[in-house]
Symmetry: C2
DNA sequence: AGTATAATGAACAATTCGTTTATTTATTGG
DNA sequence: CCAATAAATAAACGAATTGTTCATTATACT
């Protein structure tokens, strides 16, 4: 098979652009950055940018896509080796991956990345949640179970939001620890910790 | 008390600007909009904009502030009249308020408003959560209760995210209904609906 | 009615964008 | 190592947008 093998200059240029964008977002936020800022930082001509990407967003999306694929790989892999090493389920895997790539995660989740990028992530997670919980909920049809979309929406929202909160606050608690907190809250609920579900809910 | 009473022209102009911005965001998203788009829509001179606001963001923040204050008022009021009318706790109140002001909520939460605006909302909600849950958690010190910040972070994330999801999907389920779904998931947890907390959690 | 204040339109320099062009430089494959 | 190919470059461009100033006109307040 003839994979065209990418010109060394191309991969080098793209790598530099990606790194420059990420560094700049962490310094000043997404919105402020101009194309020239990026190429200056990457030590490239401004024209060169347009040979590779349509705009800032396209560049960011590339980093995102690559990282998401990596995470999916990790989870698949972890699912293969049933009880290996320090395994702990997909949620631990997510928090660990976020800790390792915290720069990119921060950028996407709260660095003011273009809203389309964030929505893209939301949809990705939502899909995964529907796929994962769908069958389990279906198995209990009739037991006053919430609709799948609502359930998946809640899960995706809670996870994404909690991840954002954790990164925003500078990652207090280690990844496994925070994953554990999340799991306890998501699966067991808050009631156990604070008593009444809500003033009137005990009707 | 001499409140200077605002010139009729000023309040009219500002109102037009606010309305124009919201309409435009709903049509094209936040980023695309130029100052001139806004003043055109509001039928005002471009220069006039700068007599009132520094930039787009300032204008949006004004709408946000006003609406947030309104919501706080509703909740306070609802808290006063213990079991009146169709009361249902602050969470119902939030979803109802969101339904009534869904345009603004959509804009802020997923219309691609400036990230600073969204972060502003996150912090607001986080503060409220700490204040609300802090004492309740403190009362159970020592019972393996999660740290307050983590707990509040989870709550704020879940609520904000779930609200976003609900609005994004075009508000399936009525406000009271969706508030109920949220409360069940948040307080009672997901375990009841899907069984195992997580493959390995039953260690 | 008379004064104060707000809105206006024109004009401005400064940025940024996205593209085109001709030229130089680096990489690949033989 | 050489030649063919592809990539990077700098300069220059028009078009948009921003934020400001200024003189003039319109509107609201008392």
């Amino acid at each position: 098979m003839n994979e065209p093998r990418i010109d060394r200059r191309v991969s080098r240029t793209r790598r530099h652009l990606r790194q420059a964008l990420m560094a700049l977002i962490l310094e000043n936020g997404y919105d402020e950055i101009t194309i020239e800022d990026i190429t200056d930082r990457a030590d490239l001509g401004r024209t060169t940018f347009y040979l590779h990407y349509r705009d800032k967003e396209a560049l960011l999306l590339e980093s995102l896509e690559a990282t998401a694929e990596e995470l999916r790989g990790q989870i698949r892999l972890e699912r293969m080796q049933p009880e290996s090493s320090s395994a702990g389920g997909p949620i631990q895997e997510v928090f660990r991956h976020a800790a390792l790539n915290s720069d990119l995660y921060k950028i996407i989740l709260s660095g003011g990345a273009a809203s389309r990028v964030l929505n893209y992530v939301r949809e990705m997670l939502l899909e995964a949640a529907v796929e994962f919980f769908g069958p389990r909920l279906a198995a209990r049809r009739g037991e006053n179970v919430p609709p799948v979309d609502s359930f998946a929406g809640y899960f995706a929202s809670a996870l994404l939001g909690y991840l954002t909160w954790w990164l925003d606050k500078g990652m207090p608690y280690g990844p496994d620890e925070v994953a554990d907190l999340f799991i306890r809250l998501f699966f067991n609920g808050a009631q156990q910790y604070i008593g009444e579900p809500s003033r009137d809910k005990a009707k």
